[in-house]
């Protein structure tokens, strides 16, 4: 089929180009501009070529070491988050009622954490987990466990992970619940007739029908956790030491704390590329899976 080309269409797209240029392309170009220069303040810039990128990707330099430390930390965090929130979200979705008054109740309850602003979530947990005045921190210490998230790196990690699980598991659960609700009753009836066990029903009906929403859930949770900033910034500020300094926090430290605009710009570009690359991988997996399912219709 040949498509009709009408060049007037470009005219209608122009406003969007204008807005995107101002909101995204120009700032991005500024960052690109910074990333190839060095500055010592006074608005004086010196050409540095790809120097910052070389440093950044070489773990033996100071900048590279710092970058890779933060990168591994962030990847580890995302991996832990996915490993906890995805199975937990599925379990919660399976446990939610399919009909009756409980549905609305559960939905509202699940949506509550999602409605709280991120810095408020950080503040809530910052107070909640304090060992002197926070209910959680105080109670844990009274149980005889030495717990102090401001001093102990492991405690800090555990606190951030629990906070994120509290904040975001609902999203996975709600997505899975939507997937589960779309399964017609006949499938469950047929499974009972066929004598399928609870596990077989999950394996052969529920999980396959949740595949698409699960991919979306994994994608969203990966992206969000990989870019997490506000909550750990409020809760731990990246500490103790650098224990919870994720890429985003490190980037802000570098750019606004030390005002190393060149290094920070290079780092943010690489960070951006990593995210785009992972997005692309997910997108490819999803569209390929769809293509395979749609194939061979006869």
């Amino acid at each position: 089929m040949t498509k009709t080309l009408n060049n007037k269409a470009w005219l209608f797209v122009l406003p969007v180009f204008g807005i995107v240029a101002f909101s995204a392309i120009l700032p991005l170009m500024t960052v690109v501009n910074y990333s190839v220069q060095d500055t010592f303040g006074n608005n004086q810039f010196f050409w540095n070529g790809v120097g910052w990128f070389q440093d950044l990707l070489d773990p033996s330099t100071q900048l590279g070491e710092r970058f890779f430390d933060a990168l591994w930390r962030t990847l580890l965090f995302s991996a832990i988050i996915l490993m906890i929130e995805v199975p937990l979200g599925i379990a919660v979705a399976l446990a939610m009622p399919r009909e009756g008054w409980g549905v609305a109740f559960c939905l509202v309850l699940m949506a509550l954490p999602l409605l709280i602003p991120w810095n408020v979530v950080g503040t809530i947990w910052q107070v909640f987990a304090r060992s002197d005045i926070g209910l959680l921190g105080w109670a844990v210490n009274r149980l005889g466990i030495d717990y102090n998230y401001t001093g102990d790196p492991l405690d800090a990690w555990v606190t951030i992970i629990i906070m994120d699980v509290w904040h975001w598991t609902s999203l996975v659960a709600l997505l899975c619940y939507a997937g589960l609700k779309s399964i017609p009753d006949a499938y469950f009836q047929a499974a009972r007739i066929d004598g399928a066990s609870r596990w077989a029903v999950f394996r052969t009906i529920q999980l396959p029908k949740m595949r698409r929403v699960l991919l979306i859930a994994v994608l969203l949770r990966f992206m969000d956790s990989f870019m997490i900033y506000t909550e750990p910034f409020v809760l731990t500020g990246g500490g103790p030491g650098n224990a919870t300094t994720f890429l985003s926090i490190d980037l802000v430290k570098l750019a606004l704390g030390q005002f190393d605009l060149g290094k920070a710009a290079a780092m943010s570009l690489v960070y951006n590329l990593i995210i785009i690359a992972i997005c692309w991988v997910f997108y490819t997996i999803m569209t390929n899976a769809d293509a395979q399912r749609g194939r061979v219709q006869e």
Binding site: Q189, D194, G195, R293
Partner: protein, 366 residues
Amino acid sequence: MARITLDHLAHAYRPDPKGPQDYALKEINHVWDQGGAYALLGPSGCGKTTLLNIISGLVHPTRGRILFDDRDVTDQPTEQRNIAQVFQFPVVYDTMTVRENLAFPLKNRRVPREATHQRVEEIARLLDLTSVLDRKANNLTADMKQKISLGRGLVRPDVAAILFDEPLTVIDPHLKWQLRSTLKEIHRALDITMIYVTHDQTEALTFADKVVVMHDGAVVQTGTPDELFERPAHTFVGHFIGSPGMNILPCRVEGATAFIDNERIALKGAYPALPAGERIELGIRPEFVQLQPKGSGLPVRIRRIDDIGRARIARVEMGGRALAASVPEDISIEGDEASLAFDARYVHIYADGHLVPGEEPGGNAQ
């Protein structure tokens, strides 16, 4: 393999049923004999599927008992009832191949691998699925998927009964015939009780040895296709079965004669036991009403004549009421004035919808 007895069974979806209007299924007593081919026929929403789901155990009845032979299974879950059911829309397990789908009910019941393999091959051959056995089930057409669902219902050799809930709705018409005869063959070969729910009278009458007609949550007649045709026990059966359906006319009965307005119709016997105060109607199938030239019979006006393939049906009007009558092949009628001849043997009298047995001329109640 079992005889299935429904004992005072009734079901309401509301938790606190009061009157009969709250019951989706009104009280029913029925015995499904081992090895029978039954059709459960009725319009949408008359309680057929509810009844089926109660037999399979997906729905627990509000009242009454279900017996498999002499075993009370009312409180047993579906899995323990040893019953197979095929649903209206195809249900396949997407991640499995066709073979795995067919083997699934057997695998769950720990049937040995060798026996499973043989049985799956056999069912696949019967349903013409052999060529796709190793394909993934989710890429197939709706026809194929429904065949897989049918196959899963048929694959267990030892079930008490197989229930079909309008299984051919999604199937192409030409394939419908073929599958229905396949089911019939399987029924003969396996000697399994089959209950086939449908709202399509052709399907019911061709599949079943015995048809159970339901209307508004109640069974109105159980009988062979011939019985349903010749002696409908209820005016509903009369107009639901047959195309066109039975002519139903309000009338008045005196002795062995019925009066429609002032026209006299001879009956096969007298009706001394007609309940007073109830709505009395006369029913006769168009097949037993013949159109003839004006003069001898009941005067009517012809509206139109339909050619329905095997026969011609005249749509006529008598005193403002529409009737259908068959048109004999050798007849020629001028104008739109004609008359009707009723075959007295097939004229039935109904009181409030229910058939009233008449007295034979010899004096015996029929």
